[in-house]
Symmetry: D2
Subunit: 310 residues, 4 copies
Amino acid sequence: MCLLEQINYQLILSDIYEEIANIDYEGNVANYIPQLAKVNPEKFGIHLCCLNEGNYAMGDSNEKFSIQSISKVLSLTLAFSMMGDKLWERVGVEPSGNPFNSLIQLETENGIPRNPLINSGALVISDILVSNLVNPKADYLSFIRKISGSDEIQYNTAVANSEKETGFRNTALINFMKSFGNIKNDPETVLDFYFHLCSIEMTCKELARTFLLFANHGTLTGTGECIVSRSQSKRVNAIMQTCGFYDEAGEFSFKVGLPGKSGVGGGIVAIHPDKYSIAVWSPKLNKKGNSTKGMKTLELLTTRTELSIF
Amino acid sequence: MCLLEQINYQLILSDIYEEIANIDYEGNVANYIPQLAKVNPEKFGIHLCCLNEGNYAMGDSNEKFSIQSISKVLSLTLAFSMMGDKLWERVGVEPSGNPFNSLIQLETENGIPRNPLINSGALVISDILVSNLVNPKADYLSFIRKISGSDEIQYNTAVANSEKETGFRNTALINFMKSFGNIKNDPETVLDFYFHLCSIEMTCKELARTFLLFANHGTLTGTGECIVSRSQSKRVNAIMQTCGFYDEAGEFSFKVGLPGKSGVGGGIVAIHPDKYSIAVWSPKLNKKGNSTKGMKTLELLTTRTELSIF
Amino acid sequence: MCLLEQINYQLILSDIYEEIANIDYEGNVANYIPQLAKVNPEKFGIHLCCLNEGNYAMGDSNEKFSIQSISKVLSLTLAFSMMGDKLWERVGVEPSGNPFNSLIQLETENGIPRNPLINSGALVISDILVSNLVNPKADYLSFIRKISGSDEIQYNTAVANSEKETGFRNTALINFMKSFGNIKNDPETVLDFYFHLCSIEMTCKELARTFLLFANHGTLTGTGECIVSRSQSKRVNAIMQTCGFYDEAGEFSFKVGLPGKSGVGGGIVAIHPDKYSIAVWSPKLNKKGNSTKGMKTLELLTTRTELSIF
Amino acid sequence: MCLLEQINYQLILSDIYEEIANIDYEGNVANYIPQLAKVNPEKFGIHLCCLNEGNYAMGDSNEKFSIQSISKVLSLTLAFSMMGDKLWERVGVEPSGNPFNSLIQLETENGIPRNPLINSGALVISDILVSNLVNPKADYLSFIRKISGSDEIQYNTAVANSEKETGFRNTALINFMKSFGNIKNDPETVLDFYFHLCSIEMTCKELARTFLLFANHGTLTGTGECIVSRSQSKRVNAIMQTCGFYDEAGEFSFKVGLPGKSGVGGGIVAIHPDKYSIAVWSPKLNKKGNSTKGMKTLELLTTRTELSIF
C-alpha cells in the first residue's frame, strides 16, 4: 500500500483489471509493419509504481512490447537536459489541433513543428541528438538504461528496419523540414536514429519505473541523480498533458486528468506528480491510435481514487 | 497565511508585484471597441484566495474590469450542470491548434467546434443556454451572482452593444454553424446573449472568489452548494488547461502549469486544485491576446512557490 | 445554318438532344429552397445563337428557369464596365482550388476573394454595385433587359426571399469579409441585392442571347452598343474559363474547352468567341453542382463540331 | 508574314522587344542551384512559329536555357499518348488554388495531385513513364528530339544533379504520395528521372518548334505524324490554360488569354491554336516565379494582334 494516501492501489487495479479484461473492446492492433501486427491482441498488463514505495501489477506486466511514440518523451528529456531552453528555437510547445494540419502548419510556421511529441517534432529532437551525441544510438540506449534502472533494455532492430521500409510519411516530413533548414543532418541518418528510438522494448514494469522520474520532479528515485531540473520536469509534464495523445489529448486530459503518452504498440504511460507513475499495455487501438483498454484503465483509476491533477 | 502549505503568499505576491509593476512591458490594450480602448494601460491588480482561509491582494485588485472571454468558463459550467455529458454532442474537448484553423475545422468537422472556450464553441454554449433558460440574461446573471457571492455584478450594456457593432467575425461564425444545424435559435438572439456574457465586469477579488469553486471540486466554499459534480469540475479544469489561452495554451501550461483562462480585457484567472484561485488584471496584451503582466505574474508565482499541478 | 463555318448546328443539336434526352442520368435537383425543389427534373432545353445569324433550339428552350450563379458573370460585367481595373483591388482572378479553401483563403488573403465567380467574390461585386448604382435592384434589371434585348426579364421575389431564410453560409461569408473591411455597405442590404440577382429567370433563348455579347468582344449585336471594351470582354471570358464551374472548372475546360458558367437552377451557358453562344437547361445536378445533361451536351457539341477554343 | 491573318508579326515583335528590352524590370534569377544562378539576367529572346510558314525572332532566341517546368507539358503528353484516359485515375485536371494547399490537398484527396503541371502531379507522371518506358531517360530524350525536330537537345546532367542535392521538397512530396500508394517505383529513381526531364536545355526557337504540335491539334507539322489525338491535344491545351502558371494561371489567362507554360529558368511558351506557338526567354522572375519580361511580351502580343482564344 502506498503509505502517503492510504489508497489500496492493488485492490483498485485488481477490480479494474477484472472489469476490463474480458470485455471485447473494439479496435485493431497496429498492422503497418509485420512485427507489430503479429502481437497477441488480448495481451493486457498494468504496473503502478508509487513514489516512495509500493509496486502494484496485474496481468502481462512483465512482457516486453514496443514502446514506439512513448520514446518521444524520453528523447525530448535527453535533448532538453543537454540544450536547455535553446531547444524551443527549433520546436514549439503548442498542441497541434487535428492531424491533417501538421503539414500546413509546418508550411505556415517555416518548418518549426508545433511540439516535440508529434512526428515532425520528434524528428527535430532526433536531429538535435544526432548532432550532440558522440555515438547517438549507443549513447541514447545508455541514457534509457540509466533512467529505467535496467540494463536489459534493447532496440529491436527488426522493428526499426521494418519502419524504414514503410516510413514514407516520415521521410516526407523530414525532407519538408530540411527544405526549411530545420534539419541539420542527413535525413537518412536522422530517420535511422528515430526508428531505433521508437523500436525500444520495455515491460509495463520497466516503463512505469522509467517515467517515475517525472513524478519526482526530474530526479531518479534510486540514485538521487537529477536528470532534468524541477522546472524542466514540470515542463515535460505540461507538454505530455497538452500534446501526449495526438488528436485525443483533450479527451485524455478530460477523462483521465494526468500527463501521459501513448504509443501504437498499445502502451500508455501516465504520471501523477508527487504520487505515482503507471504503465498499461493492451495492443488493440481505438480510431485515434490509442490503446482502448489502456485509456479505459486510466479513466477508471482516476475516477475511483478520486485523484487527478485537476 | 494559507495554513495548509505554510507558504507566505502575501510576501511572494508583494515581491512579484514590485518586480513587475514598474517594468515597461510591451503590448497594447484591446482597442476594437472604444470601451476597452479607454482603459488605463497601467492598471495592475492581483487577488489570491486560498481554499480554506486567506485572501491576498496587491494593486488595483478592487477595480472593475471587463472579464470578456473568462465568461466562457462560467457559461460552460452552467450549461454542463444542466445538460451533463449530452453537451459533448455539440462541442468537442480538443485544443484547436493555430487560430486560422477554426473555420476550416468547422468545415471539416460539420460545424462542431473543437472546444467550448474558443469563440465558436462559446457561441454553441450560448445557444444551448438560450434554449434552456427561461430568461437567459437574467437567469445567467443570477447564476454568476450566486457563484461569486456578490450581488453587485452587472452586465455592461454599453460594452455589449459596442461588440455587436463590430462583431462581424462572430456573426460569420454563428451563421456558418447555423448552416450545419448546430445553432438552434435565431443567430441575432444568441449573439446578443453572448455579447452580454462577455460584458460582465468583476474586480480581481470577485473573479478569484468566483473561480474558487473549481479549486474546490465544484462546490461553493461559502454555502456548500454543489454547482457541478466532482467529476465535472475536474473536466472543466482539464478543458481550461488544454484550451484556455487560444494559441498560447501550451505556452501557459508549459510556463505556469495551472488550469486558467484569459480575456482581452486583460484579466487572467487560474486555479490550483485543492489550494487556491488567483485573478490578475493588467490591460496590456501580448501578440497572442493574453495579458503580458498577468502571464508573467503567474509564471513567477508557480516558480517561487514551487507548486504547480505538474 | 451558321454561314461562317458551314456547320449544320440544327442537325448536330438534334442528334445530341435525342441521344441524351432519354438517358436516365443520375443527379438531383437543387432542393435547399422549395422553389427550386419543385422544378420538373426532366426538363431539357437548348438554344444556340450564332453571331451573325442563325438560332437553333431543342426541347424546353422557351421555358423560364432560375439562372442563379450565372448572374455572377453579368454583375461582374456591369461592375467592370463602371470601375475598370480598379475592380481588381477588391477581388482576384485566380481559380479557387477545392471548395473548403474558400474560408481559409479569405483568412490568409485578408478578405480578398480569389475571383468574382465564387460566392465571396460575387458578394464583393454586389457590394460594389450597391455603392455605385442609384437604385441597385431597378438599375441592375434595366441593365439585364438591355443586354438581353428582352423587357420581360424579372426577379423572382419568392426565390430571393427563400434564399434569405436559408442563406446562413452567405451571411457568414459576407460578415467575415466585412471584418476585413472588404464590404462597405450594410451586410443585409448587400445580401438582399445579391439574392435578387440570383433569382432572375430566363429562358434558354434569352440566356443565349444575353451572353452573345461575350462572343462579340463586348458589343451588343442588335444595337452595336459597346457594353465592355474588347479587352474587358476577353478578360471576362478568361475568368469564366478558369473559374466558371466551382470545383469542376478544369474538368469543363478539359472536356468542353469553352468559357462558360453554370447555376444550381440547372442552367449552363457557354460561348465560342467569334462564333456563338449556347444555353442549356436541365435541372438534375451532378455531385459538383453542375447540370449533368448540360455538361454532356456541351461536351458532345465541341467534340462533334471539332471546334473549341483549344 | 503569316499569310493566314495578314499580321506583320516581325514588326509587332520588334516593337515589343524594343519597348521591353531596356526597361529595368524588377525580379530575380532563380538561385536555388548554382547553375541557374549564374545565368545573365539581361538575356532576352523571342521566337514565334506560325503554323504554315513564318518564323519570327528577336534577341537571344538561339541561346540554350534550362526549360525546367515547361518539360512537364511534354512528359504529360508522352504519358497521355501511352495511357489515354486511364492517366486521370492518378492525377486530376483542376487548378490547385494557392501554393500552400498542395500538401493539404494531397492529404484530403488521398495522394492524387490536382493536376499534372504542379510538382506533385509531374512526379506522378514521371512515375508512370518510369513504369512504361524501357530506358526512361534515353526514350524520353528520343521523344523530345522527335517532336522538336532537333537532335541537338540534351539533358544538362550538372543541373539535374544539383537539383537532387537541394530537392528536399520534391523528396517530401514523392514520399508523401508514396505513403498513399500513388507512386509505384522507388522514389529515388523517379526523382532522378524527374530532375533530368527538368534539366533539358532548348533555345527559344527549339522550344517554339516543339510546342507547335499543340497549335496543330497534336500532329507534327514536319512529318505529319500524329503524336496525340485532336481531342487529347485540346485537353493538353485546356490544362495549360487553367494550370500552367502556378498561382498566376488566372492572371495569365486574364492578361494574355493563351494556353501556356512557364519555367523557373525564365522561359515561357504559349500557343494560339490553328495559328502559332511562341517562346520567350528572360531569366528575371516575378514573385510568383514567372518571367517578368516573358509575361509582359505575351500580354503585349495578344493586345496588339487583338487575337487571343477569348
